[in-house]
Subunit: 376 residues, 2 copies
C-alpha cells in the first residue's frame, strides 16, 4: 500500500467536490453568458460557488475571481496590480517565493521596467528587514503566507499593515496554506490572495484570486468581460463548483491542522533521531502543519526519493512546480543552504487524513533509505 | 423535448472525452512535474494527449500548448507574439473578431503603444482590402478563420501567405471552426491558431494554442516553465486528455460537415420563405456549415429567443461571449448593419448530430415566434 506524502505537490480530488461538479459536466452544460434557461442555471451555479468561496475567505462575492489555478492567480495579482497602479515601479518580494511569483516579477522588470528589492531571509526562511525595504515608490509587495518547500510562515498581516502605511499594495501567495492557516481576509488585511484548487482536493485547472475591491488590477486575459472584466473567457463552471465544495469541506474540518501539526512534530523528532545526517529545513516552530522537509548532507535527495518509493513512500525532492528541473531548490539557496546540500533535500507533506502509523512507517523507511547511501 | 441549437455558444461534453478524462480526476491524480511514478504517469498522459492533438492539426507535439480555453489562447497568441517580435508595432485585424481578439489588441494599443489597421468588410463580412493593409512594420495579423456569429469564412491561407511576404506573423482564431473546417496547419500556413475545447465536446476550461516553432511568443502566465515555458502552472491533465479525445472523435467523423451544410441550406430556405422579414446575415455560400443567423427587422432578437424557448427551441441572440451584455452585436455593426436591426438578430448553430426533423421544427417555431410580434 502506497503512502502518499506529497500533498504539497498535488492532492487527490475530493470525491464530494467531483460529485458536486458532475452535473455541470453532463446535463447542465450551459454557457453562463447565454440568455436562455440552460445558460441561466449555469450562471446560478457559478454565483453560488462564488458566494461559498467568498464566505471561506470572509469577503464579498465580487471579490472572488475564478482562474485556472495558482500560477494564473499569482500572475494576475502581481502583473495586474503593478500595471494598474502607476504610483511607482518598485516591488518588494523574496527569493524564496514560488516560481509563479518570481517569474511574474521578472516579467515586470524585463518588459515594464520595474525594480525589485529582495527581502533578507534568515536561515529559517524568516524575513528580517521588512519595514526597511519599504519605499515611497513601492507599488506592490508580494510575499507568500507559507513556503511550499520548507513550510515557514510569514507574518503577512503585520507586514501588510506596514506596507499600507506607505501606500503600497500587498499580495500573498496562499497556494500552500488553504486548509492549514486561517485565511480570513479581514484578519490578514492583504489586498490580494492567490489560491490553487489542486492543493486541497479541487481539480487541477481550478483556482481563484481574492482581490479586495479597493485594489484595481489590469486583466491578464482580456475578452468578453467575464469575472467582472478581470478574467475573460467562458467560465469553467464545473471547476468553480468543485473548488467551492472543497473549501466547504475544509471549513467543516478546520481543527485538523492541530492534529497534523502534532504528527508533524513527532515525525520530525523521529527522523532527526533515526537519521544521523538529517537536518530540518525551515523554522522548527513557525511552520505550516503539513510540511516537514530535511536535507541529508552527502546523500542525493532524488536517490532517497527513489529508495523511499521502493518502500511505498511517495515524497518529493523539493517542489514539483518547476517543470522537469534538476536544479537545486531556489528556496534553500535563498536561505543560505549551499548548492551541494540543497541537492540532498526531501520534502514530506501531509493531508488532513495522514495518520501516525503512516508517519512511523515513513520515518523508518527514510532511515533505511538514507542508510543505503551512507558507508559505515 | 428541448432542441438545443446554440452549439456555437457551448456544446455538451462528449461522454467519451469525459470518460477518457476520468482516471486523471480520480486514482491518477499525479502532478506531471513530480519525479515519482504517480507523477510520471500523469506526464505520460499529458504527452499522449499532446501527440494526439498535434496529429489533428498536422504539427509536431511541441507546437501544441494546452491552455484554459479559447480566450486565453487568443491572448497568448496576440499579446505573446506582438511582445516577442519587436519588428514593428503595427497590427492588422477586423472589427468582426471575437472580443478576446479585440480586447487583446486594445491592451496592446493602450499599454504597449501598438497601432491597429482595421480591415474593410463587405456586407457579408468578407475582407476587401487585405493586401493593401500590409505595411513594412506590420508585426502581426489576427483574423479568425470563421466568424462565430455570422459564419463567414475568411481565406486565411491566402492572407497568411501575403502577410509572410512582408514578414508579418499570422494568427487565426479557430474557436468556432474545429470540426467544421479543415485545420491542417500545413495547408493553412498560419503561425498560430487558437482553439477552445467547449465548442466541440471537450469541457469548459480546456483549450490549446497551436504555435509553429518558427514563431516566438512571450508567455502570458509565467512561472515554473510548464508547456515549454509558454504556459506555466500545473497542467490540467484531465482536460488535456478530454480535449485530445474530443479531437480524435471529430477526426473520425469528419464528413459530417457536408451533411450539416445541406441541412443548414434547407433551413435557411425554410426560414426565409416562412418568415417575411427574415434576412440572412453573413455570406450565403461562403459560410461555416453549422451557423445560420438572421435579423428580423422590427422584432427584438431577445424576444424571439424567449418565444422560441417556450416552444422548446434553444438559440442565441448573437454571441454568448460578452458577459451579460445587451449591446447590439459588434459583428453586425462591423458589416454595416444598423444598431436597430442588429438588436433583432437570432443565431442558430448546429452540432454534428442535428437532424432535418429538428430544423423543420425550428423553422416552424421561428415563424410562429416572429409572428407573435408582427401586427397584421
Amino acid at each position: 500500500m502506497t503512502i502518499y506524502l506529497d500533498h504539497a505537490a498535488t492532492t487527490p480530488v475530493n470525491p464530494e467536490a467531483l460529485q458536486a461538479a458532475w452535473p455541470w459536466l453532463t446535463n447542465e452544460f450551459g454557457n453562463p453568458s447565454s440568455s436562455h434557461e440552460i445558460g441561466n442555471r449555469a450562471a446560478s451555479a457559478l454565483n453560488d460557488a462564488r458566494s461559498r468561496a467568498a464566505k471561506f475567505f470572509n469577503v464579498r462575492p465580487a471579490e472572488i475571481t475564478f482562474t485556472s489555478g495558482g500560477t494564473e492567480s499569482d500572475n494576475l495579482a502581481i502583473v495586474g496590480l503593478a500595471l494598474a497602479n502607476p504610483r511607482g515601479k518598485h516591488i518588494i518580494s523574496a527569493k524564496s517565493e514560488h516560481e509563479a511569483v518570481l517569474a511574474s516579477i521578472e516579467f515586470l522588470e524585463r518588459v515594464h521596467g520595474f525594480e525589485t528589492s529582495w527581502l533578507e531571509l534568515d536561515e529559517f526562511g524568516q524575513v528580517t528587514n521588512f519595514v526597511d525595504a519599504l519605499r515611497p515608490d513601492t507599488t506592490l509587495v508580494s510575499l507568500m503566507i507559507s513556503n511550499n518547500e520548507i513550510g515557514t510562515v510569514h507574518p503577512v498581516a503585520q507586514f501588510a499593515e506596514a506596507a499600507h502605511e506607505v501606500g503600497a499594495l500587498f499580495h500573498t501567495d496562499a497556494v500552500q496554506a488553504v486548509g492549514w492557516l486561517d485565511l480570513d481576509m479581514q484578519k490578514l488585511g492583504v489586498d490580494a490572495l492567490s489560491v490553487s484548487g489542486h492543493k486541497f482536493g479541487a481539480p487541477k485547472g481550478s483556482g481563484l484570486l481574492v482581490l479586495r475591491s479597493r485594489a484595481h488590477a489590469e486583466a491578464l486575459i482580456h475578452g468578453g468581460g467575464q469575472e467582472s472584466g478581470l478574467r475573460s473567457g467562458t467560465e469553467n463552471v464545473a471547476w468553480a463548483v468543485a473548488l467551492a465544495t472543497a473549501l466547504d469541506g475544509l471549513a467543516a474540518a478546520n481543527l485538523e491542522a492541530d492534529r497534523v501539526s502534532k504528527l508533524r512534530d513527532e515525525f520530525i523528532t523521529a527522523v532527526t533521531s533515526k537519521v544521523p545526517n538529517a537536518k530540518l529545513t525551515g523554522h522548527p516552530l513557525n511552520r505550516q502543519a503539513n510540511i516537514a522537509s530535511f536535507t541529508f548532507a552527502g546523500v542525493s535527495g532524488e536517490a532517497v526519493l527513489l529508495e523511499l518509493e521502493r518502500r511505498g513512500i511517495v515524497v518529493s525532492s523539493g517542489s514539483a512546480c518547476a517543470a522537469g528541473s534538476n536544479d537545486p531548490s531556489h528556496v534553500l539557496l535563498a536561505i543560505g543552504v549551499s548548492a551541494d546540500v540543497a541537492q540532498t533535500s526531501v520534502r514530506f507533506s501531509f493531508s488532513h487524513h495522514t495518520t501516525a502509523e503512516e508517519l512511523q512507517k515513513a520515518a523508518q523507511s527514510l532511515a533505511e533509505a538514507v542508510a543505503v547511501f551512507i558507508k559505515p
